[in-house]
């Protein structure tokens, strides 16, 4: 509403964003941030970009020990990477158990092929994937998207939690493998190869 004084309004939005970012426990989209600080999305976008620069030391201040990152579809405060070890020691963090190679490959297939059924994944990997799918579900990395009305097969897709775990903001940021896939596309789409 008081959009006449551009500079103070911007600073104001940035300060309110800082307050909100301090309490959130999930990535917040620009829209959700805009609602929270009662400002239009473009102003919030500008303020967020300003804060990123600010914390990265491209403003008047120093490069902070924390940073503002866009991950998993939203913005959150992170410890800057160079201090990760220090913080790990302090919080005595346990390294979470790693995913098996089979789980990683299955996850990759689901990420690129979603929505995809278990039998489609199995035919790409040529092995049974049931237990691996269960692990990925329990980790919250994949989710059931919908059930095929005709076959009753469940279609799986990846979650925002996967994006967060990969440190990316959207599936578009996955590396390109389409050239390889196009080669192989014909034939196996017909799915009853066994």
């Amino acid at each position: 509403m008081t959009a006449d004084h551009s500079a103070p309004a911007f600073a104001d939005v940035a300060r309110r964003l800082e307050a909100i970012l301090l309490v959130v426990d999930e990535p917040q989209s620009l829209v959700s941030l805009a609602t929270a600080v009662a400002a239009p999305v473009p102003a919030v976008r500008q303020a967020v970009e300003g804060l990123v620069d600010d914390y990265d030391g491209r403003g008047t201040g120093p490069r902070r020990g924390f940073e503002l990152r866009e991950v998993g579809g939203g913005w959150r405060l992170y410890v800057r990477e160079e201090h990760d070890e220090l913080v790990s020691e302090f919080v005595n963090a346990q390294a979470p158990s790693r995913l098996s190679q089979a789980a990683l490959e299955t996850l990759a297939v689901i990420a690129y092929k979603q929505p995809v059924t278990r039998s489609q994944v199995a035919s790409i990997r040529a092995v049974n994937v049931d237990s691996v799918v269960r692990t990925l579900l329990a980790r919250g990395l994949i989710t059931e998207l919908f059930t095929d009305a005709e076959t009753g097969a469940i279609n799986y897709g990846t979650t925002d939690a996967l994006l967060v775990n990969l440190g990316i903001n959207s599936l578009d940021e996955l590396p390109h493998i389409s050239p390889l896939l196009e080669d192989g596309a014909d034939g196996f789409e017909s799915e009853n190869v066994r």
Partner: protein, 286 residues
């Protein structure tokens, strides 16, 4: 999932990814330590990598031989579906090899067309599998990097927590217990529904559970009582089979005074754990 590492394993054989040492003609030249591979494509890829060859017809015959040799090591008691996955690939490879050995006539007959298609399909799937295998390395790296990151995730200050609207609670203790039952119900990954194709499958184990529950409560029951109120023939059959199974486990005894006469069942098990139930009727699973 992978074949068990013990059987037929020859541990002193170099890993398959190593550059090809000359292992040629001597039949048993290529051995793999079982358990390394997670699937037929995995094996095929390893064989191809081992010979540092492109997937071309030139390499095909050799790779086929080694693939078949590997398959021979997979014993007959190997998991059926696992072995069959390998077999599908092996048959395709063999077909292709045979086609390569035979002189090619000018006439393109239906069979060779089908073979070409099979080859293309196999190659296509192999390429695709390799693509996913490669990209899974990227996933592993990213996941590992991000595991080390720390995001701000702190408890909400008490003063803000108080701002949260009062919780509306409508459940009684009984509702809550019912919810718990629901939550504890085993969550099988649902299978593709085939109900429209076949009669629904009836689990002997589930029926045995019912039989056990009924018999333990009553001590003695005749079979008619055991199937009282059951209208599905399949359930009756399953209960009968589970009675036989329970007898085999010495959990019950039965009496029948005359042929086709009343069948009286008695619960006799001194020790009975749910583990017995979990393995019961396994013979009928396939």
């Amino acid at each position: 999932m992978a074949p068990s590492p013990e059987r037929d394993a020859t541990p002193d054989i170099p890993p398959v990814n190593e550059p090809a040492s000359e292992t040629a003609a001597d039949g048993a030249g290529f051995r793999v330590s079982l358990g390394v591979f997670d699937g037929p494509f995995d094996l095929l890829l390893s064989l191809i990598t081992k010979h540092q060859l492109d997937i071309t017809e030139v390499s095909l015959s050799r790779v086929t031989d080694e693939f078949i040799a590997y398959l021979r090591q997979v014993g007959p008691d190997e998991e059926l579906d696992e072995a069959s996955e390998f077999l599908v690939v092996a048959v395709t490879l063999l077909d292709m090899k045979v086609a390569g050995l035979l002189p090619q006539g000018e006439l393109v007959d239906a069979e060779s067309v089908a073979l070409l298609e099979a080859r293309d399909l196999l190659f296509a799937r192999l390429l695709q599998y390799r693509a996913f295998k490669e990209v899974s390395g990227w996933f592993a790296g990213r996941l590992q990097t991000e595991d080390r990151r720390h995001v701000r995730a702190v408890r909400l200050d008490e003063k803000y927590r108080r701002a949260v609207p009062e919780l509306v609670w409508t459940l009684s203790a009984e509702d809550f217990a019912a919810l718990a039952l629901l939550a504890f119900a085993p969550k099988e990954i649902p299978h593709v529904g085939l109900d429209h194709l076949h009669a629904p499958l009836i689990s002997i184990r589930e029926q045995a559970a019912v039989v056990v529950a009924l018999l333990r409560r009553a001590g003695t029951l005749n079979f008619r009582e055991l199937i009282a109120g059951v209208h599905q023939p399949g359930v009756v059959v399953a209960r009968f089979l589970s009675v036989l199974e329970l007898y085999r486990h010495a959990a019950i005894s039965f009496e029948q005074l005359e042929p086709l006469g009343e069948l009286t069942l008695r619960w006799t098990a001194e020790r009975w754990t749910e583990e017995n139930l979990a393995t019961l009727g396994a013979d009928y699973d396939r």
